[in-house]
Amino acid sequence: MLHEVLWTSNFDLARSCLAHPFVVALGDGTLKPDLFHAFIAQDAFFLRAFLKAHALALARSEDRDTSEVFCGLITGVTEELKLHRVYAAELGIDLSSVVPNAACRAYTDFLLRTAWHNDLGETVASMTPCMRLYAYLGVALAPQCSPSHPYRRWIETYGGREFGRLADQVETLLDQVGADTKEVRDRYRYALQCELDFFSGALTS
């Protein structure tokens, strides 16, 4: 299966994300709250671009089954954005005036360029790593998640069954609409690299 080949052959980057100081500190609960707040704000900016990429992919879908899967995924991203709004309200973050940092801008420009300009297979290949990586990180961090963990809700969301189901869905879609081409491999790997850079950006902003 294409999605397995891509995940396995790029697993070095997924492992680097799990070992990234930002993710390590998020997992053991020592991450400074102001860094988490800044990360949530950047992530909300990213998710708005992610949502648009889904909508563009939906517009490109030729058959009803694919369209329905995209509708489900769009609902999933919308739910994720709602979670960010809850965080933002609790933490006093203004999500409407987020200025993206360089890593966030590079990632969202890449996603939107691909979704507007390139084909559906490449678009799904650029969207899949985000879903699979966060499911992977959520599951990997879950054993450290005590009831009093400061980032429990974040870990439970991404390590949860519902998010894992969405990641499975987007991977199934990638198998259906993507081909094993140089471009698809490149988009998948670059998206994972953007994820890694995103954590670095969150640590320095």
Partner: protein, 195 residues
């Protein structure tokens, strides 16, 4: 001076001067650095072609002639890039450097999402900063052919036309995007120099 250039402040100099160009002009540039730059600039020009084509499709009638002229010139430039790369045995079937990619992803995202006044300011930034960077160099040494190519008066006249059109059609986000172009230009020269 064009108001977009004037209001960009120090970014203009940062985008149009670089150790890479200084070394190129004095003939001390390492061959590897030149080859790296050539391959990445060719990848960039390919996406710039798509950007300019989308801008043309959105543009009002009175912009067509300069934009079509720009597209035809870019087509010739791509021919020239490809023949230079073949002559210097530079492989063009490579992945873009992340810096090149960030620049072209920005251009393509804007092409689809920004109004044409903003796109014109972007194109003016790309072309005028490139022309200014090369025009500052004395056309001599092993890379004289390249310096002459991008400092020639026809290219200069084209950038002046674009600048005039951009100033007459300024939109709110034009300066912000013009400045972003300059930041990408600065980073591109840095990438060419440092790898």
């Amino acid at each position: 001076m064009n108001s977009l250039v004037r209001n960009a402040g120090p970014l203009w100099d940062e985008a149009t001067r670089s150790p890479f160009l200084d070394a190129l002009a004095t003939g001390r540039l390492a061959a590897d650095a030149f080859r790296r730059w050539l391959a990445q600039d060719c990848l960039f020009a390919n996406d710039l072609m798509a950007f300019q084509a989308i801008l043309l499709a959105k543009a009002p009638r009175d912009w067509h002639k300069p934009l079509l002229g720009g597209l035809a010139a870019l087509d010739q430039e791509l021919d020239w890039f490809e023949s230079s790369a073949a002559r210097l045995q530079v492989d063009l079937d490579i992945l873009p450097h992340p810096t090149c990619r960030r620049y072209t992803d920005f251009l393509m995202r804007c092409a689809y999402t920004q109004p044409c006044g903003v796109l014109l300011a972007i194109l003016f930034g790309v072309e005028a900063s490139y022309h200014a960077a090369w025009s500052a160099l004395a056309p001599s040494g092993p890379y004289a052919e390249f310096i002459k190519r991008w400092s020639n008066p026809d290219f200069g006249a084209y950038t002046t036309t674009l600048g005039g059109l951009a100033e007459r059609n300024l939109q709110e986000a034009a300066q912000e995007h013009f400045n972003e172009v300059l930041a990408h230009e600065r980073d591109f020269w840095k990438m060419a120099w440092e790898g």
